[in-house]
């Protein structure tokens, strides 16, 4: 059992955050084809040659999805690129029909924005500015269900089931710049930021923003550095955090875990990706 308390951590280290939020847009049809996007349909009933990546099929971009992304960019005080480009992210996985994801790489639709969030602190209400690096569009993958085995992952599973209803649903990824200067309030700021985004997206009417259904998902990046240092530490990324409370817990938990390793003179493994599935908890 760890002896390290949260107070011990923040007396020695400064946390630096980086938050990536994936938002499923609520368009009627998918990102690059006319298939329905309604949640919860029978598996593989909302598919076509395009989202199944049948040979010869071609993507055609969903105009409404572009509009929604521009709305998000404007609400987050971003510059909207007059020209942007889609790119292919190539990797093999059975739930990705083309074995590449259509995403945006060097020319996203929206760049350089910010959002201000307020939290209650010991000194009263305090405002933090979270700078936005980019808002870009991409398509979701299908869903795998790995049956048998103990891990629920593909390795060791007896067999896997694939549902391509989700393949090609429009996703918007909102990426912050690094967020230093939140000190002991880092977990609350992270939570407040995701909550603020959720409220903005809901007000814009571009997404259902249901974290429990995965229409809003957060990847929380955390690193620590000694107070006063200007060198960034090695970060870890907690992926697919699915509730507001979990965002706060993920950041707090990672801060303590990093500090324990750093105190022992160990390195936080470079690009250590911790695939934590938080149990469903009320936000």
């Amino acid at each position: 059992m760890s002896a390290l308390t949260y107070e011990d951590v923040i007396s020695k280290y400064e946390p630096v955050l980086g938050l990536e939020v994936h938002v499923e847009l609520n368009t009627n049809s998918k990102m690059f084809c006319g298939c329905s996007t309604i949640f919860g349909a029978e598996p593989n009933t909302q598919t076509c040659p395009v989202c199944l990546a049948l040979p010869g099929a071609l993507p055609v971009v969903n105009e409404k999805a572009i509009e929604s992304t521009i709305l998000i960019g404007l609400a987050l005080n971003c510059s909207i690129a007059p020209f942007s480009r889609f790119a292919r992210k190539n990797y093999f996985y059975p739930d990705m029909p083309k074995n590449f994801q259509i995403s945006q790489y060097d020319e996203p639709i929206c760049v350089n924005g910010y959002v201000d969030v307020e939290i209650d602190t010991d000194e009263g209400t305090q405002s933090f500015r979270i700078e936005i690096e980019r808002v870009h569009m991409e398509e979701d993958t299908g869903k795998s269900l790995h049956v048998g085995g103990s891990t629920g992952r593909i390795h060791g599973a007896d067999y896997s089931l694939l549902d391509y209803n989700r393949a090609g649903i429009p996703l918007v990824e909102i990426v912050t710049k690094i967020v230093p200067g939140t000190g002991k309030y880092a977990p609350e700021v992270a939570k407040a930021y995701v909550a603020e985004l959720r409220d903005i997206l809901r007000a814009l009417g571009v997404s259902d923003v249901k974290m429990e259904q995965g229409s809003l998902r957060c990847d929380a990046n955390v690193s620590l550095r000694l107070i006063g240092s200007d060198v960034l530490g090695t970060r870890s990324e907690t992926k697919n955090v699915n509730s507001l409370r979990s965002v706060e817990r993920a950041v707090r938990g990672e801060m303590i875990r990093h500090a324990e390793r750093l105190n022992k003179g160990e390195k936080v493994k470079k690009l250590f990706k911790k695939l934590v599935t938080f149990k469903k908890t009320p936000a």
């Binding site: 040659p49 040979p55 010869g56 055609v60 093999f92 029909p97 593909i154």
Partner: protein, 498 residues
Amino acid sequence: MIKNSAAEMAQSLASGSTTSVALTQAHLDRIAEVDEKVHAFLHVDTQGALKQAADVDAARARGEKLSPLAGVPLALKDVLVQKDVPTTCGSKILEGWRPPYDSTVVSKLKSAGVVILGKTNMDEFAMGSSTENSAYGPTHNPWDLTRIPGGSGGGSSAALAAFEAPLAIGTDTGGSIRQPAAVTGTVGVKPTYGGVSRYGLVAFSSSLDQAGPCARTVLDTALLHEVIAGHDPKDSTSINAPVPQVVAAAKSGDVKGMKIGVVKELNGDGYQAGVRQRFEESLELLAQAGAEIVEVSAPNFEYALAAYYLIAPSECSSNLARFDAMRYGLRVGDTDGASAESVMNMTREVGFGREVKRRILLGTYALSSGYYDAYYGSAQKVRTLITQDFNNAFAKCDVMVSPTCPTTAFKIGEKANDPLAMYLNDIATIPVNMAGIGGMSLPCGVAPEDGLPVGFQIMSPVMQDQRMYSVGAALEAALLSKWGAPLLSQAPSLGGAA
């Protein structure tokens, strides 16, 4: 009947002197007689073709207004999907797959009443210049069965030259319509990129691929061009503009006052003597028809082949990633306990041929993290330079011309183990794809030294496809009056009733 042009066949159908069913049956009979020797077809859709033909005949009997090519048969390259008809792309990895949808080209053919006889042989996934890379065995050149019919669309061109079909569809990524046309003595056109929809064309190199018409005459090619061309909302790269008036151009064949630019760099060393001779003679005929022949230079064409062999493999490595045994086609090694990864690996090992694997490896390497700028990025810059060369040249001429290929058809097996020698065959056709412009090859005679057909290439600016049809029709008419009969009448008989 099967030796007529498509335009003549259409006339016979319109006048009622024959029916589409009879015409289709005649071609099916011809295929049955000669395709054992030629091997142009991978799949003959006898029932589907006869059904389509009967439908056209019935519509004609009802007095419906039909499109100009209604009832005329066609051979379809096996890289375009046709609903419920096997589509293999010449690869084992798609063996047995029946697409659940029609490509836009096929939809347009069907609604124009063009009868689809079957699917033609090709180099696997359109990668090759000889059809030897087909997983189902090579196609043989009707002029000499020991020689290649070109590639990748060797099946489509051989089917035309063997009178198995009067019309065919090809696709051209680096010359796969024009080079087979050249070596089989037929006509083939790569339209402007975006002129014909790529929806349902199984992608090899998306930024270069273009489907186009193939036939035995320039007019037939133009008639087919107008059937398949036009904007398609399902293809974001399809051009939303009126289709160039290629039929009118092919009918008039007027080149008076046109400036024809001979590309200095696409001639000379490396070009067979008989190829050069027929090319020069053709220039004279065009001059006699009233065109002005000028020389133009394209200094960056020498880098086209090198850049092409970065761009095409890079795009292919990404496009062919979807063939993973998960959703369609071949599946190998799916035994108890086998992981998804090992099934993917084993299927791709067995399902892809050597040339396809070579290009996937090249492309995957070129796109690797950290290499993109050096390889794909540099190749794209070369592409811009080639486009500038074309723009500069088109400022001085209306069309550009060159021999289509450096040589006539080589022997089957001659270059099979020398990929570089094989790649050089496309040296004159690749720049057209790199710039996205239009290109045509039409026969301009046989080389005296080997008696094999020589192709004459015409290149026209973006969406000015009608210009190459004007020039092609003028040259074709001049050659025909010189020869007295179409070039294909000099090809050896393959036996059979024709």
